[in-house]
């Protein structure tokens, strides 16, 4: 039991580090992205990575109260991606 829980602590730290690194990489793509599509895609990836980070935080604290947070962020991320794309495509969000 102790070995398994110790390994899980290390796996959680590894996952935190890797997902945070991926968040930084997506942020670099937001900054250097040569075109608007790249920036929208990188922001979408950052939203998905944020969901992963929140799930990891709930897992490390052993609580379930972050479930609603990640669900709402998932919905808002999709809506904002579609809104950005529509704004570029049509010049307006709601016609």
């Amino acid at each position: 039991m102790t070995l398994a829980t110790e390994m899980m602590d290390y796996a959680l730290i590894l996952a935190f580090v890797i997902v945070g690194l991926c968040q930084l990489m997506a942020m670099i793509r937001v900054v250097i992205g040569p075109d608007t599509g790249d920036r929208i895609l990188a922001l979408d990836t950052m939203v998905v990575n944020a969901i992963g980070l929140i799930v990891l935080m709930g897992l490390s604290q052993g609580t379930r109260i972050y479930f609603e947070v990640s669900l709402i962020i998932a919905m808002l991320g999709f809506v904002s991606t579609v809104a950005y794309a529509r704004f570029v495509l049509r010049g307006d969000i709601i016609e």
Binding site: M1, A4, T5, M7, M8, A11, L12, L14, A15, I18, V19, L21, C22, Q23, M25, A26, I28, R29, P34, D35, T36, G37, D38, I40, L41, A42, D44, T45, V48, N49, I51, G52, V55, L56, G58, L59, G62, R64, F67, S70, L71, A74, M75, F78, T81, V82, A85, R86, V88, L89, R90, G91
Partner: protein
Amino acid sequence: MTYEIIAIYAVIFCLVVGSIFTLVGAIGLLKFNDSMTRLHAPTKVGTVGVGALLLASVIYNGVFNEGAIQELLIMGFLFVTAPISANFIAKVNMHRRACDAPPELPEGEQWATFDVPATDADISDPVIEKA
């Protein structure tokens, strides 16, 4: 006792798989050299990456808390919305002429992405800016 140990190893496996796929997606997003090519790398993050992390949370809460499969809602929502947003971003790339031009269509037809109403004609010609 052994049941819980097996569950913890399953959680560890899911965490490692999820973080590896997330890393692969982020490296692809950063290293590919074309807008349309970059589009396909972060799909790994959206499906297997976060899916495995959510699965780890489901297993952990199912064994050590009173059970929670609501995380599967997030997984299903991401699976449903990822292709839609990818389609929108691809249309943005086509609209901004950030990729190769699509093939020519038969006479009198036009790609739906470039088919804008006359009232929106002032925005139909995007500014082409090369980095």
